[in-house]
Amino acid sequence: MKSSRRQFMKLAAASALGLGAGKLAFMGDAPAFASDIPTAATFEHPLKAKHWGMVIDTTKFTKELVEKCAHACRKQHNVPVIEGKKEVKWFWGGTFEEAFPNQIPEYLSEDVEKREIPLLCNHCESPMCVRVCPTQATFQRADGIVMMDMHRCIGCRYCMAGCPFGARSFNFQNPRPFIKDEDFNPNYPTRTRGVVEKCTFCTELLAEGKMPACVEVSEGALTFGDLGDENSEIRHLLREKFTIRRKPDAGTKPSVYYII
């Protein structure tokens, strides 16, 4: 894999939009309104896909890089930093044992044993959280993203019991006091107490034609693209490298693949 991230972005966008690369000038130029207030023009060229997915190259990940991605995520979505067992997290890191407990890793290579594995919502093809939600507050979009409607969530936490990956967090309290001022993004709402939240694959950035926040800062270790298009960069990568998914036996068909 030698392709740069920019090339990949063009490919992903091209395959997604079904456009010639020549028409993708807007992708190359950084949007002029990046720091301005989004307007209707911001959303004129969204990124689209049949089924969004992600490949995580764990060999490229260090603790620092995981934290860099996690920080970008927190900053984009106003994720509060709460210490202890009531914490809220969208993107975080764990050991191989935590990420793949059903591998029962007895004798791991030293390298893998020390590696920090990024963890996030798997955006499963058959998501259990969506099946159990009594109000459709969590639902699956046509492009495969498992999305949260915070307006509708009643806070029953059935989705947290249903998710086999521990990807969901509940707002046990008002999260606003736990968002750092310097990491605050006024263009993205905070949450209120009593609702469940998780990674959304940055739907708000995809709508602006941008890549998810973690992918942007991942130094090429995260590949995001259309699993439904066999010519996409992510499918090339999946053909090239051996990958595994977390807990395939749970039958939820995760859309996040790991290169070990």
């Binding site: 044992e97 059903n102 009594p134 019991a161 967090s169 107490r193 009593g194 807990k247 939820t252």
Partner: protein
């Protein structure tokens, strides 16, 4: 008929006043929870359901157990239950009310509760649970009051009530089956992912519910002299004994499957509950207490001479209620969440405010039960016109 609840002794009014006091105290803590969020509970990202949902599970069982009187009485004409049956139906009503309240206090956004109805979602078991619990509440209110009214007027109950009663029998099984399905269909929770979950729920409900009913009946007898009849007690105690034996048997089946198959996912929750995992053994004393009391209850229930001797029976019943409550009202929920999806242990124990909010719900249940049983007893006094303790059921 409700006017029967408006006349009573100072003891009756004192009980109600005491319960209202406890409700007021508990609701203060609920206000505290509403203002601050569920942060006041011991719940966490890993153990996201706890004491509240466990009580829901337990009391759905208590509600369903009315069927252990209704079924023999209406299907097998076991007439000895004639005096007691109204107590069972009137216990089901507060039990279902408590279940619903435990769901409400558990919600993060209770003011949006009606979203379950506004956006009906047939793929969610919680949607069905909402339906079956509400319908079961309605069924028991209708059946209880119609039968009592007929009894008061010394008439046969209207014919249309029969099919409603038959429906309620099936419905009782459905409420607990659906409650078991809340848990039994989740791929990541090994302790719950068991085909026998609904059967376990029913067996534990059919011993613990009638046991609670029988204990409350003994209390009622001590307080008012209301006597359901020796044969009724004997019959119900026998049902409880069988149900408890089946309950223990089903648990042993779970142990066999987990440990003979040697599958870590299935063993870990059980190991956590009974001997501790990764150095966390907070639930071990509870689970062994449940085991000892559960087996102890069988010691008092299986031999006929103990079972038919009220003091020994009462001891057995108390042991049984505590054992099943720990198993279903603590162990089941926490065991399902432990270890977490990362094979780690996060300890959960309810906090004081959490217990006080639960106290509010328990007290509301007790209040409704007191009023309903008061009506049932008063109607019987009116009809029989004498100290009812001297009048055994007709069939006896």
């Amino acid at each position: 008929m409700l006017e029967k609840a408006l006349k009573g002794s100072p003891r009756y009014w004192g009980t109600l006043a005491g319960l209202i006091g406890l409700i007021a105290l508990g609701s203060g803590f609920w206000m505290y929870q509403l203002t601050n969020g569920l942060v006041i509970t011991g719940l966490s990202r890993d153990v996201s359901w706890g004491f509240y949902i466990a009580q829901l599970t337990y009391f759905v069982g208590v509600a369903a157990s009315a069927v252990m009187l209704v079924l023999p009485y209406y299907f097998h004409h076991f007439k000895q239950f004639s005096k007691m049956i109204i107590l069972g139906e009137f216990l089901a009503i507060p039990a279902v009310i408590m279940c619903m309240l435990f769901v409400v206090v558990d919600l993060g956004q209770p003011q949006r509760m009606l979203n379950i109805i506004i956006h009906p979602t047939p793929n969610s078991i919680l949607f069905y649970d909402m339906i079956v619990l509400n319908v079961y509440l309605l069924l028991n209110i209708v059946i209880g009051f119609i039968s009592l009214q007929a009894f008061r007027n010394k008439m046969d109950p209207p014919k249309w009530i029969k099919p409603v009663i038959y429906l309620s029998v099936i419905w009782a099984f459905s409420i607990h089956t659906v409650t078991a399905f809340l848990y039994a269909g989740l791929p990541g929770r090994h302790y719950w992912l068991s085909a026998i979950m609904a059967a376990r729920f029913l067996s534990s409900a059919f011993c613990s519910g009638p046991a609670l009913l029988l204990l409350l009946t003994f209390l009622l007898k001590a307080l008012t002299g209301f006597d359901p009849g020796k044969k009724a007690i004997k019959g119900l105690a026998l049902i409880i004994t069988y149900a408890m034996c089946i309950n223990v048997f089903f648990y042993l089946l779970e142990l066999f499957t987990a440990f003979y198959s040697n599958m870590p996912g299935h063993m870990d929750p059980i190991i956590y509950l009974f001997s501790g995992l990764h150095g966390h053994n907070d639930l071990v004393p509870f689970m062994w207490t449940a085991t000892v009391l559960g087996l102890g209850s069988l010691f008092f229930l299986i031999p006929t001479k103990f079972r038919e001797n009220p003091p020994a029976l009462i001891v057995g019943l108390i042991m049984l209620v505590i054992a099943t409550w720990i198993d279903k009202g603590m162990g089941l929920i926490i065991g399902g969440f432990t270890p977490n999806p990362f094979e780690e242990v996060t300890v959960y124990l309810p906090t004081f405010p959490e217990l006080m909010v639960s106290l509010m719900v328990f007290s509301i249940g007790a209040l409704v039960l007191t009023v309903l049983w008061k009506i049932a007893v008063e109607v019987r006094v009116e009809v029989e016109g004498c100290n009812h303790s001297l009048v055994p059921p007709k069939a006896e």
